[in-house]
């Protein structure tokens, strides 16, 4: 947008862009073709082309490794985390932006502090607490701990969105007889739809991608989420590259599709609150 580029500048710009595209796409391409190769072919006929493509790895992933169960577990955990988090965060954000009460500043501070606190600082005491609550090795326990990163992020993002909605609109609705909650559900939330979508996308992908807490809290193989199950593919005795790459493709596709369709909201959300990455 800045100024028109001269021809040599254009040549330079496009050369750099092509380099950038190669840097980004080559690893992804390699993942795709490797997932379609047998172990023999990967080591005996090294090639950057998809020779003798086969779906063998994917079949094994679903058959031997019960990957569909892991996907089901991840959908349950990430889905419930998203629904609960977006709901309680909308309530909290509305309260913090629109209502006045004694502990408001402290509440906002705690939320911001939690948003900044990385889970690698907390996972040890969390494991003890979750065990004491009797929630160790359950999806519910995992959902609970995922709320610690999801709720602060969503609340923080939504506070930004709610602030941009004129207060007059709420007041107008209340003059017309709506209650506070009525104003929240009928005016503020519908107008913040883009914010709700970006919160949902960030929360779902955050929970879908999470490895460390999943590794610690889930011990039964049948309860493992996608990242946890994938982790066990590489910590075994023999690591099968094609199989792991197939798992990588299957894990990445849902969230990448989600990001593709929600790109606008993702970028908007990024601008609104700087997301954990």
């Amino acid at each position: 947008m800045v100024t028109r580029l001269t021809t040599p500048q254009k040549v330079l710009a496009y050369s750099l862009l092509i380099l950038l595209a190669l840097f980004i796409l080559f690893p992804i391409y390699f993942m795709g073709i490797t997932s379609l190769k047998t172990v023999r072919d990967i080591y005996r006929v090294p090639s950057l082309l998809p020779i003798n493509p086969t779906l063998q790895n994917y079949e094994q992933l679903i058959g031997t490794w019960k990957f569909l169960d892991a996907i089901k577990n991840s959908v349950i955990v990430a889905g419930l985390t998203t629904i609960i988090s977006v709901f309680i965060s909308s309530l909290a954000a509305y309260s913090l932006v629109r209502l006045k009460y004694r502990f408001r500043t402290w509440s906002a501070r705690l939320i911001l502090f939690s948003y900044l606190t990385p889970s690698s600082l907390l996972f040890i005491p969390l494991a003890v607490i979750i065990a004491q609550l009797g929630l160790a090795n359950t999806h519910l326990g995992l959902i609970f701990v995922y709320l610690t990163f999801a709720a602060p992020l969503s609340t923080w993002l939504l506070m930004g969105f709610f602030r941009s909605i004129p207060f007059d609109l709420d007041e107008q609705a209340m003059v017309d007889g709506a209650t506070r909650l009525g104003a929240l559900f009928r005016i503020v939330l519908p107008l913040s739809a883009p914010g709700l979508i970006s919160c949902a996308v960030f929360t779902f992908t955050g929970a879908w991608n999470e490895l460390l807490l999943g590794l610690i809290f889930i011990t039964s193989p049948e309860l493992r989420t996608v990242p946890v199950q994938t982790n066990y593919l590489i910590t075994g005795d023999t690591v099968r590259m094609g199989l792991v790459m197939a798992a990588a493709v299957v894990s990445a596709v849902p969230v990448m599709v989600l990001y593709f369709f929600a790109q606008r909201f993702v970028v908007q959300g990024l601008g609104a609150g700087s997301v954990k990455a």
Binding site: V2, L20, S120, P125, P227
Partner: protein, 294 residues
Amino acid sequence: MKPSRLTLAQSDARLGLALVAPVLICLLLLVLYPFVFAVYISFTDRTVGAQEVKFIGFDNFRYIFGQYSFQQSVRNTFILVFFLQAFKLVLGLGIASLLNQAIRGRTFFRGLVLLPWAMPAFVAYLLWKFLYDPTQGGAFNMILGELFGTQLDFLSSKELAMPSVIVASFWRGFPFWVISFLAAMQGISVELYEAAAMDGATAWHRFRHITIPGIQHVVLVITLLSTIWTTNSFENVWLLTQGGPSDATMTFPVLAYFGMQTLRIGEASAVSVAMLPIFTMLAFFAVKLLQKED
């Protein structure tokens, strides 16, 4: 003041607390309490399943400070964060400026940049693990073999392991910086650039005196937040090297995870708690910056 308004204020206050309560309870129980609890157990000899827990003062800290793994983890965490952040900052600014030019295919390239970040972190690092594979099955060694007839131990040689972790982490992390910087750059008014161009300012001058001041707040926020999260990132090192070879890439989250696996959680906790001063300092600045935004 009319009595009815007073009740409205009162009922607002009650409603306010009720609405914020679910999130607040969650965070008190699962963030603040564990935070305090972590500090407490790091001063005890707690192990998983132990009946009695003794308060042992600074013994855990004295013990871990004397360990090679811990010393390495502090050093490595510092190196990893420093180089990774420097690359993301400099190249992030460069790529964002490039994508901010009037060129064809801009939208396409912007979507492209988002890809590595849209990918789950654990997938990205697994993928890089195999790009680095020491055999000719690994993409880089396949290429090196074809071109130079040589192969490199990217992840299992002491010299290359850390640079390899940094490059992989850069690949997954840089889009977040580029997209954030780009959004900030687009907020700068075009007239400023036009006026400057008319006055004969060079591209560098425009970048230095218009772009930089226009985005410095965002740059500061992103750098600070990303530094907090990079310092504490687990997946990159865990999936690529598990801290090896012989602690050459050991960082403190991975060390704490290993400690947890040995079930001596007092000690493992001390590893995390030892990093608290740095986290607290960074978080303090981040809170100041973010609250100024309001």
